[in-house]
């Protein structure tokens, strides 16, 4: 029925099955939309946040999906600026995943603020000293860049491409894409970094506070670095999940191997920097403010030292080693383990840098504050996931996302 829209030379599932899939995910999406409307109409009393937890699940989700979406800027940088041509076979998907992640982050932010209609104040009354201002500017600009990067892909749809104007527009946009990739990389470095800075500048919160270079705390650099390391892992992970669901090979192994290797180098170097940062913070910064390392990991029922070990050793060193050793990363099971662990690791890091910061007491007579999100918070956090799946389903069905698909899956 919709075969005229499907790219030539590839096979897609029957339309009823596709629609059934959209409906099932759509129900989850509607659940999230309902929760979102509740939050907008009734206010943030629909959440379990409180005055100790001003930042909670949503801000974590924002930071995590932006880090995971980092595959778009870093793969773009490698493909267009460093000229790694093989990556053209995965860049479309990296851009799509990035687009989903960033649009989701903006949506969550729109729910998260107490007065959403005043969100533009962040631009109008901008405080140049605030990391959040930098986040808002760079995030909005980079989202525009991602949209520009995604448009040529949409224009490649069979029917749209028939219109000469859109055909030429798409062709010309492809030619200048390096400029946008460079702009995107520049903007990404700043907003990934400034998201790290959001926690790092909190000098009233010794768990988060870090010294740094000029106005940027070390977390600024660590966040950019970790996003560049783990973002591509997430791109590989989603590619592999897509391959599993569609039952097709979509990207050749050498492309995945190249991206995995680069991720390994980035993750390996990042984790060394993270270990150095942790040691300096634990032995110099925190003690100078009156805290021992273990003060941040005791007297509560959840945040034990295990979380630091899991983040650094299990989700940092281990995947870095797997991705760096050719023999390991060419083993499928180990590769999957590594990309899953790296994706979890960066999410765990963002969790710690948001929620543990809020949970840990600062005044000597204060107590730990733990929190469990409300169903409205969970539903609105799942909402972008459902939206992402639907956008991937539609894009995969109607757009030539994977240039190697035809070659790898010939139709008889």
């Amino acid at each position: 029925m919709d075969s005229a829209l499907i790219p030539k030379g590839v096979k897609r599932c029957p339309l009823p099955i596709f629609i059934l899939g959209i409906v099932i995910i759509g129900i989850v999406l509607l659940w999230g939309v309902y929760a979102m409307i509740l939050c907008w109409l009734k206010g943030l009393n629909q959440t379990n946040m409180n005055d100790y937890y001003g930042f909670a699940l949503w801000i974590w989700a924002d930071l995590a999906i932006i880090a995971l979406g980092g595959g778009a800027f870093f793969t773009g940088l490698l493909r267009y600026i460093f000229g790694l041509d093989e990556l053209k076979n995965i860049i479309n998907y990296a851009v799509l995943i990035g687009f989903i992640c960033y649009s989701s982050a903006l949506l969550i932010l729109a729910i998260d603020v107490g007065q959403p209609l005043r969100s533009w104040f962040i631009f109008w009354h901008a405080n140049v000293h605030s990391m959040l201002t930098e986040v808002a500017f760079c995030l909005s600009c980079y989202f525009s860049v991602l949209a520009i990067e995604y448009i040529p892909l949409v224009l490649e749809n069979r029917q749209i491409d028939k219109i000469p104007f859109f055909h030429h527009l798409g062709h010309n946009m492809h030619k200048v894409m390096a400029v946008f990739a460079a702009t995107g990389a520049f903007l990404s470095c700043f907003h990934q970094g400034s998201l790290g800075g959001v926690a790092g500048v909190l000098y009233g919160r010794p768990f988060a506070y870090r010294e740094g270079l000029l106005v940027w705390p070390w977390t600024f650099f660590l966040f950019t670095w970790s996003a560049a390391a783990c973002g591509p892992c997430f791109t590989i992970l989603i590619t592999k999940i897509t391959e599993f669901i569609t039952g097709k090979k979509l990207v050749k192994d050498n492309v995945i191997d190249l991206l995995a290797k680069i991720s390994g180098w980035m993750l390996g170097s990042y984790i060394i920097a993270k270990i150095i940062d942790t040691i300096y913070w634990a032995t110099v910064t925190a003690p100078s403010l009156g805290f021992n390392l273990m003060d941040f990991y005791k007297d509560n029922s959840f945040y034990g030292i295990w979380i630091l070990i899991v983040e650094i050793a299990v989700c940092g060193i281990l995947p870095a080693v797997i991705l760096l050793v050719p023999k390991f990363r060419q083993n499928k099971l180990l590769l999957y383990t590594a990309i899953i662990l790296a994706s979890i690791g960066v999410c765990l890091n963002r969790w710690v840098m948001v929620l543990q910061v809020m949970a840990a007491p600062v005044m000597s007579f204060d107590t730990w504050a733990l929190y469990i999100p409300s169903w409205q918070e969970i539903a609105t956090t799942i909402l972008p996931v459902a939206y992402g799946i639907i956008l991937i389903m539609i894009s995969f069905r109607y757009l030539p996302i994977f240039p190697q698909e035809k070659e790898l899956n010939s139709i008889e």
Binding site: N50, Q115, F121, L132, T133, P287
Partner: protein, 265 residues
């Protein structure tokens, strides 16, 4: 010379709270809520959602009976100066909705500009900032008792102690009408100061040698909360008990508070 002149001209309003006198009665909290139209709800069991610009903490020396000692510690906004006015909350607000006033040292909150991102709350180590999770609703008969000088806040914005800034404005207006350029110490006092039955709270200009707070802050028993972080607060506490003074900050094992260099004020 000019710099010195400006320094003399600028006020730095602050507070000294004598913890030896505080009985923990909570009158300061009631006075504050009444003066500043602080909203409350029928069910206030979840204290982490209650708005109390000044909160009385109960702290103990953590020793077993019979050596247990208790101290009550009222905690308003500390109106941190940080370094050159970069208080923890002011520097992070993305929309410049909170400001450090160099002329008074008061950290203000612009309710109509705040869009409720709550970054300032995360930045404040004292938990002195509160979010309006609900729209403010007062019992019908209570609306007549609301302070006409203080605007109520809408749902979705952050609020906090402003050292009863409306009282300062009223005092300035009065002085202006009477042809004076400045106000006397007793013309501007916060509601909590006046509401304290034990006289534990003293308020005034920390820069003014004739004000009581100027002398009190120099007491050997004076300390501030979390001085080591460099927040540079303008609320001083007085206590004759060493364990109370020590509770004002964090120390690693074996550290002697007397040897710790704290930020200059």
């Amino acid at each position: 010379m000019k710099k010195e002149h400006n320094h003399m001209k600028n006020k730095k309003f602050g507070m000294c709270i004598d913890l030896d006198k505080c009985t923990g009665c909570g009158s300061c909290m009631v006075a504050c809520m009444s003066e500043n139209n602080v909203p409350f709800r029928e069910d206030e069991t979840d204290k982490r959602k209650s708005i109390t610009w000044i909160t009385v903490y109960k702290i103990t020396n953590n020793r077993p009976f019979p050596d247990t000692e208790v101290c009550y510690m009222p905690r308003p906004c500390m109106h941190c100066e940080g370094h050159d006015g970069h208080s923890p909350c002011v520097s992070v607000c993305p929309a410049t909705a909170t400001d450090y006033d160099m002329a008074t040292g008061i950290v203000s909150q612009i309710y109509t500009r705040c869009f409720g991102c709550r970054y300032c709350m995360g930045a404040c180590p004292y938990h002195a900032r509160y979010f309006n999770w609900w729209d403010p609703v007062w019992p019908a008969e209570m609306e007549k008792y609301l302070s006409p000088d203080v605007s109520p806040r809408m749902r979705g914005v952050v609020e906090k102690c402003n050292f009863c800034y409306s009282r300062y404005q009223r005092a300035l207006d009065k002085a202006y009408c009477e042809g004076r350029s400045d106000i006397e110490e007793d013309e501007y006092q916060t509601a909590c100061t006046q509401g304290c039955p034990a006289g534990a709270i003293t308020f005034g200009d920390l820069n003014n040698k004739s004000h009581a707070v100027y002398k009190l802050k120099k007491s050997p028993n004076a300390f501030r909360l979390l001085e080591r972080l460099g927040t540079n607060p303008k609320v001083y506490y007085l206590s004759s008990k060493e364990w109370v003074r020590k509770a004002g900050d964090n120390y690693i094992k074996g550290e002697n508070p007397k040897n710790i260099k704290k930020s200059h004020h």
